[in-house]
């Protein structure tokens, strides 16, 4: 699990990249001084929205928005109709500056500062002239985004369905005291959880109940979910362990089943959607889960079945990458190629530890060198993966 659920804002939809300015050598450098006609500065005060220029050549434009007012402000680049948003930057606090980067083709536009985040904002006209760096407008980008949403949604639903089925089956075995069979099924059921872990974590309350590890609890917290049952099935490392009674087992696993069904309903809710950034951030988030918990053998402390979880996270990260890949191929084909290679290298390493059709060796059977090789491959993938969201939104 994540030590704590990922902050909801990481998963909330945003439309365009909003990157704060890089720490410059000089403070408050006016980007318009650089002589780059595509670097513009915006002074958003309580009652004015002053741009360093109202004209720029087509290409990748950056607007460095400085808030000189006393309320949180926003800045928008809108289409000529004043409605369609090409780029926006939110939550610019008083005295803070943030940079919006957006690719803009030739045409007429409207800029707007919105001090206090209310109303239509203080608007002005903005012109983008033809240039050699004419930004590509993809007619079918809208369609690609919609397809990514639909595909990822059905992937998550499919994995949840399989998780429900296998958790139900697991519960029967566990309650019936068929421990060997339950141990066989444990990592195979969890594989589906791990594939969609970042989505499940976004539904705040479920993750701590279903997937908390004992070390993450406070004194007095109740230890429930998969890892509580894991400890009961693999008590070898536990000191003075008292096995759960049949009644305790039933109560524990019934709660897990109930929460799994709840998760299933949540992902079926039509209100749950997957914009590009959510899918791309999810891909990165899953790989971070690998880096923090799985590659170190901390996740499955009792059973040592970490490599199943590892595979599940990598599967999920890869599906998410593939989901946004059509958009990425248009924006940054080089990054797409690098990610393809890195995913391949990591999978090749994982395959070396496979046993049979769908199994893996235990984490404790890996030697230091093998763990290091896996860790290196994860880091090699994490680096380009951290650029995915910004790339697909550029």
């Amino acid at each position: 699990m994540a030590r704590r659920p990922l902050p909801a804002r990481l998963l909330a939809p945003v439309l365009l990249v909003a990157v704060p300015t890089l720490a410059a050598c000089t403070q408050n450098a006016d980007p318009s001084d650089s002589g780059d006609p595509r670097a513009l500065s915006v002074n958003s005060s309580a009652d004015a929205c002053e741009l360093s220029a109202t004209k720029a050549p087509a290409g990748k434009l950056s607007f460095t928005v400085a808030n000189t007012g006393d309320k949180v402000t926003e800045f928008y680049l809108l289409a000529e109709d004043g409605l369609r948003i090409l780029g926006e930057i939110e939550n610019v606090g008083p005295g803070v500056d943030r940079t919006l980067t957006v690719s803009v083709p030739e045409g007429s536009y409207v800029t707007a500062c919105k001090p206090g985040m209310t109303g239509d904002g203080i608007r002005g006209d903005f012109t983008v002239t033809a240039s050699d760096e004419q930004a590509e407008v993809s007619a079918d980008e809208q369609a690609l985004v919609a397809a990514a949403d639909a595909n990822y949604r059905s992937y998550v639903q499919d994995q949840t369905d399989q998780l429900v089925a296998r958790t139900d089956e697991f519960a029967q075995l566990y309650k019936a005291g068929k421990d060997d069979e339950a141990r066989e099924l444990y990592p195979r059921a969890r594989l589906h959880w791990e594939r969609i872990e970042t989505v499940a974590e976004a539904f705040g309350e479920l993750d701590p109940i279903m997937d908390a590890r004992e070390a993450d609890l406070s004194e007095g917290d109740e230890f429930t979910g998969w890892h509580r049952i894991e400890k009961d099935l693999w008590p070898q490392r536990a000191e003075d362990y008292t096995p759960m009674t049949p009644d305790e087992r039933a109560a524990m696993v019934d709660q897990l089943v109930e929460k799994t069904h709840e998760l299933d309903e949540l992902v079926d809710d039509p209100a749950t959607t997957y914009p590009l950034d959510k899918i791309a951030n999810g891909s990165r988030g899953l790989l971070e889960e690998v880096a923090t918990g799985k590659v170190t053998g901390e996740e499955e402390y009792w059973s040592h079945t970490d490599l199943w979880d590892f595979q599940g996270n990598v599967d999920g990260a890869r599906v998410a990458f593939e989901g946004v890949r059509p958009v990425l191929e248009q924006k940054d084909p080089e990054l797409a190629g690098e990610l393809e290679t890195r995913f391949g290298e990591l999978q090749e390493l994982l395959d070396q530890h496979k046993v049979g059709e769908d199994g893996f060796v235990l984490y404790t059977e890996l030697n230091d060198e093998q763990v290091k090789a896996l860790s290196d491959a994860v880091n090699a993938l994490l680096n380009p993966l951290s650029k995915l969201t910004a790339a697909v939104l550029s």
Binding site: E74, N91, E219, K372, S375
Partner: protein, 398 residues
């Protein structure tokens, strides 16, 4: 050479003023708490091996003598590194010859083990004087503590502007203690991560952010009395501790490789401050008060789970700490990750009100926790300052 300048004979001639800086060892409070934070740290925790109360007192007396000398740029022992009988090992190890005091402070603390052993047995006849809040810190969520980096019966915090001076001090105190006490663990730190006077710049931690902006500063007399120094009457059983403080120690590993893959905007959201200036996301400059109510697009502009929102005094019953932590990098792990983070040191008047609830809130709610792992933990009672002729903690034994 006169006996009273034995030891580090060249320091007076040594160059920079940082090297010549010396802080008085004696005073109302121990040095190394409100002292302007030096650049380097060597912190050591000791297990007391002797079961004799007299030997323990003897150790503290010997440490006091050595500390009084070393903090003034003199040798650890009265003879000096090169001045003694050639048939004997020197009473100072010598690596600080010529380095000057370099702002060295040595601050001593007493752990819970001094008052009762693991079975609750009174080791030195001190049990009835145990400070009320002095006990091992509770387990917090996400603690992954290593026994070999936690606890201790005694501690020494050595801070100096020259790492060799700090290491020299700990090395010599350990040498003096052999037999009576043994080093349980020790930690090197660099790049102070907080400031204790207003004239110092707020430094950056290994996440690249300014840290400890809201720290209690030496100039804040009332805040020091309210939040840092133990007052007479605070703890009737432990009046000997009046004028002292509690030291909360946490070794916090940072998952820097994962952190470095976070977009800048997300990093600032986790911290609640801008990376460049350290201003709260509600605006202004570093020292502007955060406005946690200022609305942003999705909830407050300073996210409720950001570090600054979770640990700010405003959300913690107005309690403040005097932090004087350091960055550390202890090489790399088996997996090639930096074994790095923040060695957190905070002085508070009462850990039950000023530290434990804040740490609990942070462990449960702070967005930054995803990138942290707590690997060491300890709590010490820090006795008041030493008067000339006294040894450190003497009032405990009176």
């Amino acid at each position: 050479m006169a006996a009273n300048v034995a030891g580090r004979p060249d320091h007076a001639a040594a160059g920079s003023s940082a090297e010549a800086t010396a802080y008085p060892f004696h005073g109302e409070h121990q040095a190394g708490i409100v002292t302007p934070v030096q650049d380097r740290l060597h912190f050591a925790a000791f297990d007391v091996r002797t079961s004799s109360r007299e030997e323990l007192q003897e150790l503290l007396r010997a440490w006091t003598d050595a500390a009084a000398r070393m903090t003034q740029g003199e040798a650890a022992g009265p003879v000096g590194p090169t001045e003694g009988d050639t048939r004997l090992p020197p009473d100072d190890t010598g690596e600080a010859i010529g380095l000057g005091p370099s702002g060295l402070t040595l601050t001593f603390g007493f752990g819970p083990g001094l008052f009762a052993d693991a079975e609750g047995k009174d080791r030195f006849g001190l049990a009835d004087r145990r400070p009320r809040a002095l006990r091992p810190l509770p387990h917090f969520p996400a603690d992954a503590l290593e026994a070999a980096r936690s606890g201790g019966d005694l501690c020494v915090q050595a801070c100096a502007d020259d790492p060799q001076v700090a290491v020299h001090a700990v090395r010599n105190l350990a040498r003096i203690g052999f037999g009576a006490a043994s080093v349980r663990w020790s930690q090197l730190g660099f790049g102070r991560t907080s400031r204790t006077t207003r004239s110092q710049e707020t430094p950056r931690n290994l996440f690249g952010f300014k840290d400890g902006t809201a720290n209690v500063a030496a100039e804040e007399g009332q805040a020091l009395r309210d939040h840092v120094w133990i007052a007479p009457g605070d703890d009737p059983r432990a009046e000997w501790l009046a004028g002292g403080s509690y030291l909360c120690v946490r070794r916090i590993n940072m998952r820097v490789e994962i952190w470095d893959a976070q977009p800048l905007g997300d990093q600032e959201g986790f911290i609640g401050r801008t990376k460049r200036t350290g201003a709260p996301l509600s605006g202004g400059d570093e020292f502007s008060a955060p406005d946690f109510a200022m609305p942003g697009r999705d909830g407050p502009v300073i996210p409720a789970d950001s570090h600054v929102a979770v640990v700010h005094p405003e959300h913690n019953g107005d309690v403040r700490m005097l932090r004087r932590g350091y960055n550390f990098v202890d090489g790399s792990t088996d997996l090639g990750a930096l074994d790095a983070g923040l060695f957190f040191l905070a002085y508070v008047r009462d850990p039950d009100t000023h530290f434990i609830p804040v740490q609990e809130r942070m462990s449960r709610q702070d967005a930054m926790m995803e990138y942290l792992k707590f690997t060491g933990s300890a709590l010490f009672a820090v006795p008041p300052g030493v008067r000339p002729g006294e040894y450190v903690g003497q009032r405990l034994f009176a």
